[in-house]
Amino acid sequence: MKKIISLALSLCLLLPFVFLLAGCGGKTSQKEVLHVYNWEDYISEPTQNSDGSTENDYVDLIAEFEKEYNVMVEYSTFGTNENMYNELQINPGAYDLVCPSDYMIMKMISENMVEPFTDDFLQNSTYMKYASPYIKQLFEENGWTKYAVAYMWGTMGYVYNPELSDTVEEDLSSWAGLWQEQYASVATIKDSVRDSYFLGVAVVYRDELMALKEQFKKGTIDRHEYNRQVTQIMNRTDEKTIEATKNTLLELKENLYGFEVDSGKQDMVVGRISINFAWSGDAVYTMDDAEPYFNEETGKEEPGIYLNYIVPEECSNIWFDGWVMPKGANVELAQKFIDFLSRPENTVSNMNYIGYTSAIAGDAVFTEMTDWYSEGEEGDLDEEGSPLVPYDLNYFFNGTSDGEYKDGDYIIYVSAESAKRQISAQYPTQEVLDRSAIMQHFDDATNAAVNEMWEEVKGLPIPVWAYIVIAVIAAGIIVVALSYVYKGKRSDPKPKKGYRRVTK
C-alpha cells in the first residue's frame, strides 16, 4: 500500500507534463469544425486588448462565418511556407484549408497533396463570380483552377524616397539601379532566397529582357508570347545562371545597407534606408505609414515623407497566396469558407485589415478603391493645376459587377504624383502585368543548388582580419599545448626517498 501511494504521488509530479501533452485535445462539440491554417495577420479580426477584450475596429470574419453557418472554426497560423508544409506532412488530415504561396501550391499540386474543388464550386461559387478575370485567366493558363483559388496577390518592386537624388526614378526604372555606387548603404533587399534570386536573374539577363521588350513594343511579338518568354528567362536555373547570379548578388551585397525580413518597412519609414526591394503589399503599408497625416487627437498635421513604388522596366514577379484543401479535407465546408471570404463586402474588410490586394473584384471593392484613391473626375485638375491622369483597372474588374458599374467604367482619376504611390502597388497596370512572371517551384536538386548559391552570398566574403585572428589563435593553442607537454615531462620529478607522492 505504501509503495502504491508513494508511486502514485511521484507520478503526480508528472501530471503537469501529461496535461501539457494532452492540452490539445478534449473539446467536445456537436458542431461541424473547419480547420483553417493561414499566415499570421492574414484575415480581418478585431484588435485584442491586453485584458482579453476586443476592440470594435475590424470585422471579425471568422466569428461571422461561425454564426452564419453554425459551425466552429479552428484557426491556426504559420510563419513560413516550409513550416506549413512540414506540419502537413507530420499531421496529414489535420487541416481543411491552408493558404500557401504560389510555388508551394505548385509543389503541393505536383505531389498530389490537395483535393480538387467540386464541379458545383467551379461553376456556381461566389468565388468564381467575383474573382478578377485576370486572376482566373492566370490560374486557367497554369492549370491550377481545379485545385487552388487565389487569396491575395501582387508584384515586386522598389519602394524609394523620390528625394534621394534627382535621377532616382530613372535609375530605379531598372533593377540594376541598386548596383550603382551612388546608392551605397541606402538600400535593403529581402533575406529570402527566392526573392533575391529573382532580383539577381533579372539583372543578369537585363539585356535580353530589354531586347524582348523592344520587340513587344514594335509589335513583332504579342503580349502572350512576350510574357511567356519573360517567364522562361526568369525561371532559368542552369548552372551558368546560378553562378552568374551569385556573382552579381555578391557584388550587390557590397553596395547594400543590408538584408531584411520584416524591418525594411520600419527602416524606410524612419528614413534609415531610402530604397527597399519589397512585395507590393508591404510597399502599400510602408507608404501609408510614412506619409504625412492629420492627427485627429492633437488636431495637427504630422510630418512625413511621400514614398514611391516602382516596378522596373525589365520584368517583375507576380506572387500570390491562395487557398488549397489538403487531402482528406472537409471539402464542402472549406468551399463555404472560401465563398464567404469571396463576398466583395468581406473582401473589403479583409483588404482594410491586411492592406494587401485581394484577388476578388466586384462592386464593393471598386467603390472602396475609388474611395481610397480617386482625386476627382475626368478633366479635373490636381493641386498644381495639371489634369488628373486615368488609372485603368478594367482588366481587373470587368465582368464582376452586380449592376452598379459597367465594363469599361473601372478607371480611377488620380494626380500624376499619386499614380506612382499606393495605387501603383495595390493594382499594377496592364503594362506591368505584361512583363510580370510567375516564379515556378524548383525541384529538389535545383533548390539545393540555389540555396547553396544563397548561402555563399550570405556567408562570403570573409575579411582578411578574420583569417589573421584564426591563425593567431591556432598558433597560440599549439604553443600552449607544446609547453604543457614539455613542462609535463620536466616538472614531475620522482618523490624523494621516504616521501609519498602528493596526490590531489
Partner: protein, 271 residues
C-alpha cells in the same frame, strides 16, 4: 497513515528520468537520425551526404570560420572586461558590492530581444549601424553575454583564500607576481567556465548578428535556422547541429571542463 508515506530515492527519480528521456535523449537521437539520413523522392535513407556536403561546401566552411572568429573575439573581449570587474568586486572591501554586482547582472532580467533591438537603435544613433557590421555583432555579443562571464569569475575570486595571497606576498612576491602566480591560476576554473558559457552561445546566437549587422553576417546558428525554416532540409540542419555539438564537446575537453576532481572548484564550474 501520514507517517508511513515516504519516497524511496528510486521513486523520486522517476520524473527526472522521464524528463531526461523525453527531452534530452529522444531529441538527441532524432537529431542523429536526421543528420545521417536524406530524403530522396519522399523516402528516407541512410546517408553520409550531409556530412560530406558540409566539409566540401565553401559557404558552410566560411560560415564556420566566421562563427569561430566572432565567438573568439567576443569571448576575449568579455574576459578582458569581466576579469577586472569581477576582481574589483570580489577583492575589495566595498560596502554594498552586492548592489554593484547586481547592476552588472540587471540587464539579464530584461528580455533579450528587446535589449538587442534597443542596442540597434543606440548603434544607429552613434552611426555604427549599417557601416560596422562586424564590430556591431561583437558589441552585441559582449553586451549580451558579459554577465555570464562576470558571475563565475566573481564566485571563484570571492572564494579565493586570502591567506594564499598573504603567504605569497610574505615570501617576497611583488603584486604582479602574486597575481600571475597565485590569483590567476586559482581563478582558472572560473575563467574556463565563463569562457565556455560565452563562447558557445556566441557561435550560434544569430538574433544578435542578424539584428545588428542587418543580416550581413551569417553564423552557424543562422544556417541551422535556415535549413529548418527556409530550405526545408531537416537533414542538413541536424548535421550542422551535430557538428556544432562535436566542436563544443572538443572545446570542453580541451579546456578541462569535464574535470570535477577538484572539490573546491565544482561550484564555480556550474556558475
Amino acid at each position: 497513515m501520514m507517517q508511513s508515506l515516504h519516497f524511496s530515492r528510486k521513486q523520486l527519480c522517476i520524473p527526472y528520468a522521464l524528463f531526461l528521456v523525453l527531452f534530452v535523449i529522444v531529441p538527441m537521437l532524432l537529431i542523429l537520425f536526421y543528420a545521417f539520413t536524406e530524403t530522396v523522392d519522399g523516402a528516407i535513407r541512410f546517408s553520409f551526404a550531409n556530412f560530406i556536403n558540409f566539409f566540401t561546401s565553401t559557404a558552410k566552411l566560411s560560415t564556420l570560420l566566421m562563427s569561430f572568429t566572432v565567438a573568439i573575439i567576443s569571448t576575449a573581449a568579455c574576459l578582458l572586461i569581466a576579469y577586472p570587474v569581477a576582481y574589483i568586486l570580489a577583492r575589495s572591501n566595498l560596502r554594498r558590492k552586492n548592489v554593484l554586482l547586481m547592476i552588472f547582472i540587471l540587464p539579464m532580467w530584461i528580455n533579450f530581444v528587446l535589449r538587442i533591438t534597443a542596442l540597434r537603435e543606440l548603434l544607429d544613433l552613434i552611426g555604427l549601424l549599417g557601416t560596422q557590421n562586424y564590430l556591431n555583432t561583437i558589441i552585441g555579443m559582449v553586451y549580451d553575454f558579459l554577465p555570464f562571464m562576470i558571475l563565475p569569475l566573481y564566485t571563484t575570486l570571492e572564494k579565493l583564500d586570502n591567506s594564499y595571497l598573504e603567504a605569497a606576498a610574505d615570501l617576497g612576491g611583488s603584486k604582479f607576481t602574486v597575481f600571475t602566480k597565485v590569483t590567476f591560476p586559482l581563478s582558472l576554473p572560473g575563467v574556463i567556465s565563463g569562457v565556455t558559457m560565452v563562447f558557445m552561445p556566441s557561435m550560434t546566437n544569430y538574433v544578435v548578428s542578424d539584428t545588428l549587422s542587418n543580416f550581413n553576417i551569417t553564423i552557424l546558428g543562422k544556417l541551422i535556422d535556415q535549413y529548418f525554416t527556409a530550405y526545408d532540409n531537416w537533414h542538413m540542419g541536424s548535421m550542422i547541429s551535430i557538428i556544432l555539438l562535436v566542436i563544443i564537446f572538443l572545446t570542453l575537453l580541451a579546456t578541462g571542463g569535464f574535470k570535477d576532481s577538484d572539490r573546491e572548484t565544482r561550484g564555480a564550474n556550474l556558475w
